[in-house]
Symmetry: C2
DNA sequence: CAAATAAATGTGCACGCACACAACTACTTA
DNA sequence: TAAGTAGTTGTGTGCGTGCACATTTATTTG
């Protein structure tokens, strides 16, 4: 079961290995006649390059930049960061170095500053979470001009043809939430959809989650019976935050479910705990420690896991596959929407488990 | 950021690369004094072997045998087979060849025959689903004597120290089912636990699933209120199978949930469909086509995915890591217990998605 | 048509490791 | 003490590629 080597191709085509190499890598300086002959033979023998030898034989250093939010400011970013670091560690053997550029996820200015720094570093590829639509667009144009491929994660912006988008299907995750609510309460309940700490106007994925939820009920012909209440909340003024919640729940005692579209489900859980509210079930996003605490306490029923670690990990890997291995990569990579409960939680958070996912 | 090479170690230790090589691979013939010095330097420089170069430098061919059930007889085995083939394809570069030995999962004799064939092929490693406890034990002893490492998946049998076990945590999956039932019906319901087409006496994992379910209710102090009815069913005589179900559901009209411990949830769904039973929710295992059909129709509420594809994939990979790369591998690898509904199904079945898991 | 340039092709080494083989040292034995 | 042997250590080549450099062939120019 011997592997076909470049040497074999060269032999059969009666040329030197150097020429085959040029054809394989489009290095030019090959006559059209010879090129075609070689391509045909490559096809015939269905040659597959040996990645190990390829990686061994090249000493080129690839420099990637990763633009992510500050985990110190919002714990959500811990996982993408870990994923990126893991991928970076694995890719080190192939001559890949990843530099992190960490911005304040609540400050567009900070994003601009870090994006500029990343651009100045003149990397071979960029991975970023384009949180601020307006602010990121000029960079997309700049990078396109400089021919620096970029991979998006977390937030999808297809208009500027990124090399790839990694992330959740926000809309579909809303559908999953709908299912969980419907399953948990066949009688028509009222649902509070809470957007916490982010403007829906500048982050499309929140709206998509809400739409997914609403459409679940439409598609199942239930929307006449269900009541969906929407709220945009902000913790910057905590007293006001609590007052808003008071108003909502006192004014709508019929609410039985709360769907939190950001990673802040724990804030609602905390509120419920303090107010001794036990009859409302919470469904939220992301396995951050605060959420896990309330998941284990039973105040949060389900968390939808968007695989933030995987997003970072696969994001870097897309760049590696494209630039280092010259593989064809898919333009979109949706990650699974895991439904996480107290009972299956362990399989999603244990570090060693992460390697087990296929 | 240059990598440390064996050569660097040899230089620093003032020995030849051959000697370092002997230490790294425990090939013997190294004086204790030198050995320790080298080990210390390896530690100091924290050397990490370059797997590519390692794989490239050895031309040894590894021969693995995989013993699995026949997908033609029970569709469940399609996924492990696919996973094994995928891993085999990836490992080809490292000189790994995998031969499949496919037995009839309902026939112990067939298992013995195939296990004998696999043994005769004298492989370097074996991956198998030890479905028949009594029948497999002699082989464990034989392989141990012949020093052939074996990896188990699907069914755990720790007594004969396999190299590794890959698979589900059956007990915990029962707990997950308990949660889903409890969440879907806070008022104490009755649950039918159905073991279909397998003897609980010879397959421990079915019993573990049931125990997990029961213990969910115990741990949440609910066991006084819930009623759990157990049934062992077999489709070999289909008329009898239906008659049994008739008896159960007519005799227990209070049943609201059905938990099927094998991959045969679709049989119950089919029965419900024919009998126009709509008020009983089904929770089952495995994303086989028949189950997906009824999941999409809404007759099955949830499927617990044990990642059968991953089991095959990681099973082969454990052998590869151990034998080819001489890595340390974990004795147990539990795969995530995915909760799958109609709404997030796509992320678990689309082939291209499988690569996205971390 | 010779010289200069451009295009095409060939050659050989390095990447980091494994392994076969060669060589050296220390210890026995007669 | 020389020969024999076991215990150590050193050397060199191949694995499949990529790439820098050398060489040959075709094309252009004055």
């Amino acid at each position: 079961m011997k592997n076909i080597r470049i040497k074999d191709i060269a032999l059969k085509a009666k040329v030197s290995t150097g020429t085959v190499d040029r054809v394989l890598h489009d290095r030019g300086n090959v006559s059209e006649k010879v090129r075609e002959k070689i391509l045909k033979i490559i096809e015939e023998m269905n040659y597959e390059p040996n990645f190990m030898a390829r990686a061994l034989g090249t000493k080129k250093v690839y420099h990637f930049a990763a633009l992510i939010g500050d985990p110190g400011i919002d714990g959500y970013w811990n996982d993408p960061k870990t994923g990126i670091e893991k991928a970076a560690r694995e890719a080190r053997q192939y001559g890949v170095e990843v530099s992190l550029f960490i911005f304040n996820p609540y400050d567009a200015e900070s994003f601009i500053k870090k994006a500029e720094e990343a651009t100045e570093a003149n990397p071979d590829g960029i991975l970023l979470a384009p949180m601020f639509y307006r602010e990121v667009v000029p960079f997309f144009e700049l990078w396109k001009e400089k021919e620096i491929p970029f991979v998006l994660f977390n937030t999808q912006i297809p208009e500027f043809d990124p090399l790839s988008y990694i992330g959740q299907d926000s809309y579909q995750s809303g559908m999953v939430a709908g299912k969980l609510i419907h399953y948990g309460q066949p009688q028509p309940p009222s649902v509070l959809v809470a957007h916490i700490d982010e403007e829906t106007s500048n982050s499309a994925h929140l709206t998509k989650k809400e739409q997914g939820l609403r459409n679940y009920f439409v598609q199942n012909n239930l929307h006449h019976h269900y009541e969906i209440i929407k709220a945009e909340l902000n913790r910057s003024n905590y007293a006001k935050f609590v007052a808003q919640l008071d108003a909502i729940f006192e004014g709508n005692p019929q609410i039985q479910f709360c769907f939190v579209t950001t990673s802040k489900a724990h804030e609602i859980a905390k509120y419920f705990e303090q107010k001794f509210i036990t009859h409302i079930k919470i469904i939220g996003y992301d396995l951050i420690p605060q959420n896990l605490y309330y998941l284990n306490k039973g105040l949060i029923s389900f968390l939808i896991n968007q695989n933030p670690l995987g997003q970072g990990y696969w994001g870097i890997n897309q760049l590696v596959d494209h630039l280092v291995f010259k593989k064809e990569i898919s333009a979109v990579k949706f990650l699974p929407l895991d439904i996480v409960t107290k009972e299956n939680l362990n399989y999603y958070i244990d570090e060693s488990m992460l390697y087990n996912r296929l």
